[in-house]
Subunit: 240 residues, 4 copies
């Protein structure tokens, strides 16, 4: 957090050129179309959630407190990945409290990081706590959609149908920034994971690029929804 | 209600200029885009619900009995905040029965007030009555989305993760206008609340401006949906 | 049915002018926009359901077996209300098997009739049968949305909050046309109803005009969904 | 699989003309609009699922691993039906692992084949296994939407309301291609079926043409969703 605070006071430049592009795949445009889609999926209701893209040495970040489905490229913050200073800080917005958590993923090679408040994710964290205890991961197996999740950083290919999907869960904190420590610990303890659930809060998902982060986030959300419906119907997540 | 009846008979002017603007953020345009969005969220099905914006001394109000997703700026009523007379009353429509309830919020400093028939809100009022009694508020804690709700009028910032969210519930009445008394009593008893649930009916949510009213309404609806799903899964709303 | 069979053989004219209009409120255009909306509401999945509008002495009817969200004005059938002969019969389509049921509503003064396969409607018919028997109506009370339903033909105004909503249920038949008799009997036994549920099938809803039929259909579907969720949560539909 | 591997190595031509057309009903365009719609229905989340159309002796196939709602005609693979060689293989994509399963349907006269990961389909396969055993089909009767499913290849007309719908279920395999054998066995054992469920995975649905495959897929998904909700409410699928 220190680095961010410093950046906030040292740099107020607008650097409009960093967010102006006719290319819909430019990070400033892409974050906006992604967030509009995430809104319709129920992931970023009420200004919740966030999205960040790494583009070379620039980190593009959706601001805090904006209606995600209405976001414009000019709303986007841009940070220098190396010195963590803001190259662009729109005065009307506050930087996202997710920033240090996004950076934790970028430091480990991610190209895009998505944070959602998906209700399926929240319900799964509550069900795991009740049924398997506070230290348990979410675990499920033999669901085809598991094949949408890669094996892990530096490993080739995706999980197989018979692999067990394990998503670690960390406890929520009063301040989002304070999740950074436990998020990083979970990343170290589960080096193959591309996602960490946050109890009573939501999920952080990242990937090598936007395509992977977005489709992994969709696959996980599909699996969480299925898992909740399975619980309602008395069906088990694993064969044990 | 008296004031409204008087206004209805004393003023029939159309004052088209009050609802004509190229600015999508103009209240007459804004109410229409909001209501179209609320329709897709299931909040204003079958002409239910309503929305009102205060713009200086003018109150803009969606009419009664219209399909909310099809509303046009020319459908909008405009009332003078000070004398409660209609500055614009489209002849083809009836004024909203929610008007005195919207005014109760505006009198307490609100800039926008939203009324929905959200099924999650209705189900929550039924569950609270059955499980905690007729006098109980809806109460929940340790859900991240609670941080989307402000602490209260005149207070800085939003509720924290460890704060308990309390939304008062009033009993429904045969006529919507007759909710005004109990709504105002709830506003006085819970001066920090930005929302009041109406049993078997829906919710009134207000905020300092459109952005806040809309995002608070979304955050609350998210929490109500989560709370209903928690009940189905046997999960508790509070640690007690 | 006799009249329809006769019409089918005696009239093959296309009468394009009956379905060509620049006015989005023209019945041929209106049925298309309504059906596209109903598709997104899950009411007319897989070519199910149908919609018909009476326009003077002309009855406009969506055809059988078409993807409702893709319908074009040229797909629409037009029938003469008085002699039940088709003024327009697109050769590529089959007339809707709902036609005699729509006519039963038009004969009783309706201006628009909507048939949906809503799952909430189907589930409600199953729950009523199990919990209250084959002869029971669907009954619910003290839900605000009940006020979206009119008191009955020739009566002023809508149901009140304390009125009990009663929707009769008829048994399904192998052929849709064969529902006509029991639909008409239900209309006679419950002369105030604007809707009849069909067990394991869906619902027919009508109204004085398109606006009323559509908003009544929405209000009923809202109530059925709420009723199903209430059952899941162990909440009662009436105080008895 | 052998044939495909051979094709992959022997043909790298792009043959752009095969996927360029102004006609929205051209298979290359049609697959894209279908997949975008299927995304909103939750059938092809996270690059899951697939769609293929037979157009004369050409088979058009959506590629593997793409975001289905963003697909462009230039993403589409084209295969010669007779010699199973690719006439077009976009270098940036992998051919769909569903290809041999689509071919199994085309060999039996289908004009279009759709594969979804619908959660309702997955849940139904789990409920059938638990309640009726591994060898059981999904069976339901007396639901109007059953009439949306044809009687079988070479038979006239659709199932009737009193016909029992039976959809066979095959066990999932580690590799999608390895489903081909059991899919073909199910097709032979149930020659009238237009769909095969895959346990913990989804469904393959085919039809004589795009219209039929798409509407049959919708009708089945409607029935699966209804069946899951019936289970939650303790309602039976058949009278036995």
């Amino acid at each position: 957090m220190m680095a961010i605070e410093t950046a906030m006071s040292s740099n107020d430049g607008s650097n409009h050129h960093l967010v102006h592009s006719d290319d819909p795949m430019h990070p400033a445009n892409h974050i906006c179309t992604l967030c509009a889609k995430f809104y319709t999926l129920g992931w970023v209701t009420g200004t919740g959630g966030g999205t960040s893209i790494r583009h070379g040495e620039h980190i593009y970040i959706a601001p805090s407190g904006v209606q995600k489905e209405l976001m414009k490229p000019t709303d986007i913050f841009v940070m220098d990945f190396n010195n963590r200073e803001y190259l662009r800080r729109p005065n009307v917005h506050k930087p996202s409290a997710c920033t240090p958590l996004f950076l934790a993923a970028f430091t480990r090679g991610a190209g895009c990081c998505i944070h959602t408040h998906s209700q399926w994710a929240v319900l799964v964290t509550l069900l795991v706590e009740r049924d398997f205890g506070k230290d348990a991961c979410f675990e499920i197996e033999e669901i085809e959609q598991i094949k949408g999740i890669p094996k892990g950083r530096g490993k080739q290919g995706n999980l197989g149908y018979y692999d067990r999907l394990r998503i670690p869960i960390i406890e929520n904190t009063a301040q989002e920034e304070d999740l950074t420590d436990s998020l990083e610990k979970a990343m170290e303890k589960y080096p193959d994971t591309y996602a960490v659930l946050v109890r009573r809060h939501g999920i952080y998902v990242w990937g090598d690029n936007v395509h992977k982060a977005k489709t992994q986030c969709e696959s996980l959300d599909y699996i969480f929804q299925l898992a909740v419906e399975m619980k309602k119907l008395g069906l088990l997540w694993t064969n044990k």
